[in-house]
């Protein structure tokens, strides 16, 4: 069974200016362990798809099964529980809470999962270790660089061991070198078995995925598998360059 099974998913917005068909009868399957990029210009429907996959929104028509759960039938509380358990969000603007240190931010999803403080702390430290920031656990977001903040956000997304990471332009606010580091991290997590969905308009980012789904005008225009660029190569090249 596919992790994500989407059939004829349609999302229509009723705006003052009229009806906008943001997503038009889209069907898509995503398997466990994939690293997939969802591409397209703004207004192509990729953000709408991301909101639907992320259980933040419900389709107008069509069906969406996430691990066999019919998402379109769930209540707001059911969606919240599903987001908590199955989805790890990574945003362009990191969205860390400024008053909390890195550890507190990573603990946040577990607060809503009802995990006790001690276990939360352990798991959050482990997640920070996984993104290479264990020693920054007590830094506040303001005291971290952009790349470090995004790593904290990725740790937060990972901490409940979700079925997939849903990353919305995760490198959009980062310089190119840091962006490569973050992509390398996604690839590493994917090798460890984490399913990653990258939503991006940036072809350079999409080249690091093994599968690229392209959107235009609310429809899928192509769905290709490719040999991805390995972000480690760029990282190594940079290190070699610096050594010379």
């Amino acid at each position: 069974m596919a992790l994500i099974a989407i059939r004829d998913l349609t999302r229509i917005y009723e705006l003052d200016a009229g009806r906008v068909v943001a997503l038009d009868r889209v069907s898509l399957d995503i398997e466990d362990g994939e690293l997939i990029a969802v591409m397209g210009p703004s207004g192509s429907g990729k953000s709408t798809l991301m909101n639907l996959i992320g259980c933040l929104d419900r389709p107008t028509t069509g069906a969406y099964r996430l691990r066999g759960v019919a998402v379109e039938t769930l209540s707001a509380n059911g969606l919240a529980a599903l987001r908590n358990r199955e989805i790890g969000f990574v945003f362009q603007q990191f969205n860390l809470l400024p008053r909390m240190d890195a550890l507190g931010n990573v603990e946040l999803p577990m607060v809503y999962a009802g995990i006790d403080r001690r276990r939360r702390r352990e798991k959050a430290l482990a997640a920070l270790g996984r993104v290479g920031l264990a020693e920054r656990a007590h830094h506040r977001p303001m005291q971290l660089s952009g790349g470090q903040q995004q790593r904290v956000a990725i740790a937060r997304a990972l901490v409940n061991a979700p079925s997939l990471l849903l990353a919305d332009e995760p490198t959009g606010a980062l310089d190119s070198r840091t962006a490569i580091d973050i992509l390398a991290l996604f690839q590493e997590l994917n090798r460890e078995g984490v399913t990653v969905v990258l939503v991006t308009h940036d072809a350079d980012v999409a080249r690091h995925a093994r599968r690229v789904v392209r959107f235009r005008d609310g429809r899928i225009v192509d769905d290709l598998r490719q040999a991805p660029l390995d972000a480690r190569d760029a990282v190594h090249a940079r290190i070699a360059e610096a050594a010379e």
Binding site: A76, A80, A81, F89, N95, Y112
Partner: protein, 410 residues
């Protein structure tokens, strides 16, 4: 999310805007402080009035002689002895609701025991006195009817007189010389403390009415049966006003005063007098209640306002929390608990200020400071409720946010 968790998060949010939070709390602080002070001042004043009424004797009026016109000159109260013990007996017999009518005479005299002497007030009283004034003999015994009838020279002494003359020695059976008349002390009165106007009520000697008239006060009591004044005690407060009317009628009739003649006596309602003193405190108490009500309302609106600002400021935080799995009711609870914590902190500060104010007022006014623990509990609880009530709308706004919109907001 657990409540302790939410309270911790609330404290962190409140601490992040410490000054703003403090200013927001101010209304609640003033409101709660006013409630605490109001209750304390109100009950302190009530207690004071109660004590004064107790020390005076409840439901008491005093009928004084006087107001005689001689050759066109109106002489004041007490100028003539127009009241008699028969008037007292008539009042007790004929006026409804009268429990006791105690005629008495009063004068100052030098009293001597051994080498010590002291100037004090001497009352000539009869048996009704202790009923009217609710004043018991603490040590020894009171007068017996025979002694009173014969006007024997025995005396009851107040606590202060005992201290001044006898020190630590037992006054019972000793001979006290009052204006050189040897009175045998048969009892010591229970202490009464200060009167409403600050007089030491225990600085006193009681003698039988007859002995007092003939041997101590003497003046103006030419007529054998005349007395200085009469304390009249009613069974209940409701009897007092109609009773005064009837006493007035009875005395005018007994004194054969025609319609064109002024009263040759005066009746004063002593309970009323004390209640008047308490009324000022009650007014203050009411004023504070009004301040408290308005402050709590304004404070609540302040909290609502700041919570609305906070919800708007933290739109992205709300979106993020929703995205990582917060249910709408978690968000509702978070902001509700934040508002409630804010209000309860204001309440706690208010309690501290209120208790301080109550103690200060009590000290200045010489009242017992009665800060009721229940009042504190109620005030804190109430401020918490203000937080819940005024926090609900902002919290609901937060809970109803669309996570997509909220995350997109700058």
């Amino acid at each position: 999310m657990r409540v302790t968790e939410a309270v911790r998060a609330a404290l962190s949010a409140i601490g992040a805007n410490a000054l703003r939070s403090l200013l927001t709390m101010l209304g609640i602080v003033i409101g709660v402080a006013a409630v605490i002070a109001m209750v304390a001042i109100g009950s302190g004043a009530r207690d004071l009035v109660d004590r004064q009424i107790r020390s005076l004797g409840a439901n008491l009026v005093v009928v004084t002689a006087g107001n005689v016109t001689q050759g066109g000159a109106r002489l004041g109260a007490g100028a003539a002895s127009t009241l008699t013990d028969e008037d007292a007996a008539a009042i007790k017999r004929e006026i409804e609701g009268v429990v006791a009518a105690a005629p008495f005479v009063q004068g100052r005299a030098q009293v001597v025991w051994g080498g010590n002497n002291w100037n004090t007030t001497v009352f000539g009283v009869d048996l009704d006195w202790s009923v009217a004034r609710e004043w018991e003999v603490e040590q020894g015994r009171s007068f017996d009817p025979e002694e009173l009838r014969r006007g024997e020279i025995v005396a009851l002494v107040g606590r202060t007189v005992v201290q001044r003359l006898f020190g630590d020695e037992d006054p019972l059976g000793e001979t006290l010389r009052v204006k050189n008349v040897p009175f045998r002390i048969i009892g010591v009165m229970a202490p009464k403390g200060q009167s409403a106007i600050g007089q030491d009520q225990d600085d006193v000697v009681f003698v039988p009415l007859d002995a007092g008239k003939r041997r101590v006060v003497g003046r103006n009591f030419a007529k054998d049966r005349s007395v200085g004044a009469i304390f009249v005690k009613f069974a209940s407060e409701d009897d007092i006003l109609p009773g005064i009317e009837r006493i007035s009628g009875l005395l005018r009739q007994r004194h054969r005063l025609g319609v064109d003649r002024e009263d040759d006596f005066a009746i004063r309602n002593l309970t009323e007098l004390v209640n008047t003193a308490g009324a000022a405190a009650r007014t203050l108490s009411l004023l504070l209640a009004a301040v408290a009500g308005v402050s709590l309302l304004v404070g609540g609106i302040g909290i609502m306002n700041i919570m609305l600002v906070s919800v708007t400021e933290r739109t992205r935080e709300i979106g993020l929390r929703l995205a990582v799995g917060a249910r709408p009711r978690d968000i509702l609870a978070q902001f509700l608990i934040e508002a409630t914590t804010l209000a309860a902190m204001g309440g706690a500060i208010g309690v501290a200020v209120g208790v301080g104010a109550a103690l200060a007022v009590a000290r200045m006014a010489g009242w017992p400071s009665l800060v009721a623990p229940e009042a504190i509990a109620v005030a804190v609880l109430f401020s918490g409720l203000v937080g819940v009530f005024f926090g609900f709308y902002p919290a609901q706004r937060a809970a109803r946010m669309d996570p997509i919109e909220a995350l997109r907001r700058e």
